[in-house]
């Protein structure tokens, strides 16, 4: 067996990988230079170069001295963050906001898809879908503006309740408003993937179950949910793995000086320390901490799901 392998590789027509690659490249240079290069260049310049820039997390970075001339301070920036009074609050705020967001926002799209799937009239279903997808196209700024208007002390919500709560300055309301407006905006759009999967489930299967005397709940449990299961698993891994990368844009647009107790999260802190305070190295260190935690979470969630799902992960 082994001798055969060696003799095969010595055969003059058998070249090593790089030689074969050279031949292939010359013949198919268009695939690399015209098709792939633009995307590759963008990725290397705007994604990989900043990764090398992470080095300033370990430096007393000064723009004058540059990446290589600044003083090396090791893990000082990390220690400074971990021992700062804000560390526990920021970490908790980040985890709570995205954790609760995951729990509350994950199931409405599935329920919505099941409900829409039961609308028999095709035209009515299409119209309902167009309505529930619509809010997804509203911008973050407009959404934040809407929340601010609706929940202002003189806004319609207070008028309805006969109260005058200033929700936007109330730290205890921030997460509710953030998550609630998120569900309002995205549940419909997130349901598309489930709706499309359900559309692939043959109606005959549901019909057969119905004729066999299965109730609607039984049909859902035995036909529709099993069909949705793989998609649910993938969606869960994707959202759980992104727990630390909760969007900066919306939090920042909904943040007020008074609700910072709950609305200050690691990404907004990174922004404040870096761009507002000019503490580049420290801000980078905090950001790096966030990325690493996120990576660990992603791997962990994938492992757990694999175990629960008989070896099927992402």
């Amino acid at each position: 067996m082994q001798t055969k392998k060696i003799s095969k590789s010595r055969h003059p027509s058998e070249k090593n990988y790089f030689q074969r690659f050279g031949v292939y490249f010359i013949k198919n240079w268009q695939l690399y230079i015209i098709f792939l290069l633009p995307a590759l260049a963008l990725t290397i310049i705007f994604k990989y170069l900043p990764m090398f820039g992470v080095i300033i997390a370990f430096e007393e970075y000064s723009p004058v001295k540059g990446y290589f001339g600044s003083d090396w301070i090791g893990l000082y920036n990390f220690k400074r963050f971990f021992s700062s009074t804000e560390f526990a609050r920021l970490l908790l705020n980040t985890l709570k906001l995205s954790g609760f967001n995951l729990i509350w926002s994950f199931f409405p799209p599935i329920v919505l898809a099941l409900l829409l799937n039961r609308v028999r009239h095709k035209g009515m279903r299409k119209n309902a879908q167009l309505i529930v997808y619509l809010p997804y196209f509203i911008s973050t700024i407009v959404l934040a503006g809407m929340v601010r208007l609706f929940f202002s002390p003189v806004g319609p919500i207070n008028a309805l309740m006969g109260s005058s709560v200033d929700y936007m300055t109330e730290p205890s309301w921030f997460r509710t408003l953030y998550i609630g407006s998120g569900i309002w905006q995205s549940a419909g759009w997130a349901s598309i993937i489930y709706s499309a999967t359900l559309a692939g489930v043959s109606q005959e299967l549901i019909e057969a179950a119905r004729i066999d005397g299965a109730t609607i709940l039984q049909q859902i449990k035995n036909v529709e949910l099993p069909a949705l299961k793989p998609v649910i698993v993938i969606q869960f891994i994707l959202s759980a793995g992104n727990i630390m990368s909760i969007g900066f844009e919306k939090v920042y647009a909904m943040q007020t000086d008074l609700n910072k107790v709950t609305s200050d999260i690691i990404p907004t802190y990174v922004y404040r320390m870096g761009l507002e305070m000019g503490d580049y190295g420290y801000s980078t260190a905090v950001g790096l901490f966030n990325t690493v935690i996120n990576l660990i979470l992603l791997v962990a969630v994938n492992m757990i799901v694999k175990k629960l799902n008989e070896g099927e992960g992402l």
């Binding site: 015209i34 963008l42 310049i45 300033i56 619509l134 005397g213 900066f248």
Partner: protein
Amino acid sequence: MNKKKAFVTQDNIVKVTGNLLLIIFLLLIIIPVIYILLCSIMDPATRSSVGVSFDIKHWTLEGYRRVFEDANTWRGFRNSFVYSVSFTVISVGVTLLAAYPMSRNDFMGRKFFNVIFVLTMFFGGGLMPTYLLMDQLNLINTVWAVLLPGALNVWNLILARSYYRSIPTELREAAEMDGTSELQYFFKVLIPVCTPIIAVLCLYQFVAQWNSYFDAMIYLDDQKLQPLQLVIRAILVQNQINPNLVANMEKIAETAKLADLLKYSTIVISSIPLLLMYPFFSKYFEKGIMAGSVKG
């Protein structure tokens, strides 16, 4: 008989509850939208005293007139339009091109490049290193700062690649036999049959750019370059109403009421372009989303 009856009742309860839930959800979306539309044309004095009314006598186009008379609005619109169109062209172009070799099993180095692209979905340099890089590249206060960094979206690359893979290989084999080059095949054969995915990618990228404000906020200090989202952010989030907008209002209380009217009109005006695009693209939503779930 009895049992069957029981089933029917349970089913009916489930049906009614389900439909009720759906209707509530639909209303929760429709009512705020209608409320905003109404408030944007409501006479501010009436709105604060009696609330919204469908009576046309209490309507006014004052809010729209003032927002449209503001030069900032128009500049924001123009900038956003230019940025969104250019971003869409660059982003979708680069993505469609790169997805082609990545979709071919015989492409040497495919796995290596795949790792290069996918890694960026999980790890990145973060805010400051990216900002410092943009500074070193002299891209701050140029349109390139908002056009280039996000142009290659790996998720979109995967969508396009999966879509190409769903195209029968016979097409390419036939083209190869005819001696067509890769470029000819790509532009004359492949792209024309990929309209659904192209429409979806264009929609995603246009909307993403139109709605984003973060990159513009940190990279574009120059007011002349600011996109619409930053202009409306000043009004909606920072509560900085341009003094020209509320001029001629004698009392402070009236100014405050007018400010809310302006906010509602601003919300409507800034959402118009997307609402116009929406029905045109809606037929491609499901197709595009499903393309991504085709196993690669």
